[in-house]
Subunit: 126 residues, 2 copies
Amino acid sequence: MMETNGYDTYSCPVGKTIELISGRWKPIILYLIQHGINRFGSLQKKMPKISRKVLTEQLRDLEKQGLINRDVRVSKHPQEVFYNLTDTGLSLRALIDQIFEWGAANLLDETSQKKAKSLMLDQAEE
Amino acid sequence: MMETNGYDTYSCPVGKTIELISGRWKPIILYLIQHGINRFGSLQKKMPKISRKVLTEQLRDLEKQGLINRDVRVSKHPQEVFYNLTDTGLSLRALIDQIFEWGAANLLDETSQKKAKSLMLDQAEE
DNA sequence: TCAATAAGTTACCAAACAGTAACTATCAAC
DNA sequence: GTTGATAGTTACTGTTTGGTAACTTATTGA
């Protein structure tokens, strides 16, 4: 019987993956970016309850984790910053969709399901 | 263009689902319980780094969330407590497996992959 | 009667995380 | 040269989470 030093969060792929999308806002941010809401300001507008500080932190985290790119265009009037998903980010998004499906099926009452659906984006909108 | 009050974590099925398996140890606990490690003491042995306090808290959470049942057998010598997955818990486990797959494929180097695989359980063991 | 085992509980402390509000930098238009 | 927009940063504060260590309850077996 193999001797191990046991399970712990930080050696577990599940723990690590969940870390990527913890920080509370990250799944939503990834979702919005994928759907063309990819500026700091427009992200803020879609998530009125997040503070600039936390939004910055989360975006920096996602960048460090290799899930998004930060693309600054200085050439323009006020500097513009665009975010977009990396390949890893995109593949994680697919996983998040599965999590969404499970949650929608198992956790939400009907009213909430409608509300959630009403927030789904088909393509970029401002 | 529909007016909404925006996205936030607590109305999002993804956020709610992630909450279920946050608390750091919960995915591991669910995994172990499913594989027959279903006593307080044997769970502790498999996770040497969790404290009794936190283990108790996590188990109570999982119970409240309807993912596990707590089953006390007083008839025996010292009281025995068994935990097992509910149907919801089982279906969540399937989701966690998908998270595991993604994490193993995208996050771990080879050595860690081997370590993770070495911890996988096929059936109950002590 | 005393120690051991199972499964906790309690009080206390430290670190991590999140929120508020004020401040910064850059450029363009007026 | 002041205002306004974009995209932040910083200092401070409060809440949540997790960790340690000592204590608890119930029962069995020596």
